[in-house]
Symmetry: C2
Subunit: 178 residues, 2 copies
C-alpha cells in the first residue's frame, strides 16, 4: 500500500517557513509554520494543505536503486534545514511515453546521477500527487545541515538547468528551518 | 490533469451485472447493476464503489502507443458486453524497478502485443487506483459485441497464463451486459 502525506501550512508544525518563492508560475500563500504529516499522523488545522503519497519508483533501474540505498534517512538531528518543492509538469510531458520520459529524465538530464553526488549530505523524499487530482504532480522534500546549504543550492541549480526542467510548468520553493 | 472514475454497484446504472467471479482471493459483494461514472458525472447511491483515475501510460513505447491509437472507442452501439476487472499486484512487484517491471510486462509476457491482436474487436480502458490508497492497483474496463465473447475469453486466458500474472495477488471479474 502507499503511504499518504499532508504538508500543512499554518500556525503549527515543526518547521518555520523562512521563505516561499515562486520559481515558475504562481506562488503559494504565506504562513509561519509547516507540518509534514505522514500516514495516520494527525494533521493540524492550516491555511493550505498539499497532499501526496509515497509510492513505487517510476524511473530508476536496479543499479541506480542499489546506489540510492545509501541515501540518508529523514530527521537526522543535524538536518536543521528543510526545503519543500511542489512541481507540476506540462501536459506534453505526460503525453510522452515512459521510455521518452526516462531518456529526458536520466540519459539527457542525469537527474538520478546528479542526486547521487549529494549523498549523504542531502536527504530527499519524493511524494506523488498527480493521480490524486491535486494541482501538483510531485512534492519533493529535502533535509540537510546548515553547512550543506551551498551544496543544496548547487544541486537545485544543476537540475533546473537540465532538459527535464523545460517540461516543468509550475514550481514553488519553500525554505524551512527548525 | 487526470480524470477520475467511479464504478458504483447497486440498483442503478447502464450495466446489468451477470456474474461476479473471484479469480484470485476474495470476491466483491453481489449487486444487480453497475454504473461507470467518469469525471464530474454524478454517481448514484450504491452498495460499493471502486475508484480510479485515467492517467498517463506507464509502460508503452512510442511504437506501441502509435499502434494502440487504432484502439476502438467505448460506447459503440454494438458493444453490448462489458467486463470490469479490478486487480492488485504483490508488494514484491512494486518493489521491482521500472525496467524490471517492463521486462516482465512486455518482453516476457507480451501484454501489449497480445492486446493489439484483439483490436478493433475489444475496447479497453485502464484506470489507476494504487496511488489513491484503494485496495486495488488497476481497474480495467472492456467492451465488445456478444459475437466477440470467445475472442475476449481467449485474450483473458492468454494474459492470465503469462509470467506477469504470477505477480497478481487479487483479481475479480465482473461480467456485464446492456
Amino acid at each position: 500500500m502507499v503511504t499518504r502525506v499532508r504538508f500543512v501550512a499554518g500556525d503549527a508544525g515543526a518547521w518555520t517557513i523562512d521563505e516561499i518563492r515562486a520559481v515558475i508560475g504562481e506562488p503559494l500563500p504565506r504562513a509561519p509554520r509547516l507540518a509534514r504529516c505522514e500516514g495516520d499522523e494527525p494533521a493540524p488545522e492550516g491555511r493550505w494543505t498539499l497532499s501526496g503519497v509515497r509510492s513505487h519508483d517510476r524511473y530508476v533501474t536496479r543499479g541506480e536503486k542499489t546506489r540510492l540505498a545509501a541515501s540518508p534517512e529523514l530527521d537526522r538531528p543535524t538536518a536543521r534545514r528543510g526545503v519543500l518543492i511542489p512541481i507540476r509538469k506540462s501536459a506534453a510531458w505526460w503525453a510522452l511515453t515512459q521510455d521518452e520520459r526516462r531518456a529526458i529524465f536520466e540519459e539527457q538530464s542525469h537527474h538520478i546521477a546528479i542526486g547521487l553526488e549529494y549523498i549523504p549530505a542531502i536527504a530527499r523524499r519524493l511524494y506523488h500527487s498527480r493521480d490524486l487530482g491535486e494541482p501538483w504532480d510531485f512534492l519533493t522534500w529535502f533535509e540537510y545541515a546548515p553547512e550543506d546549504s551551498a551544496a543544496f543550492d548547487a544541486l537545485l541549480a544543476r537540475l533546473r538547468a537540465s532538459e527535464e526542467w523545460r517540461h516543468v510548468e509550475r514550481e514553488v520553493e519553500l525554505r524551512l528551518s527548525r
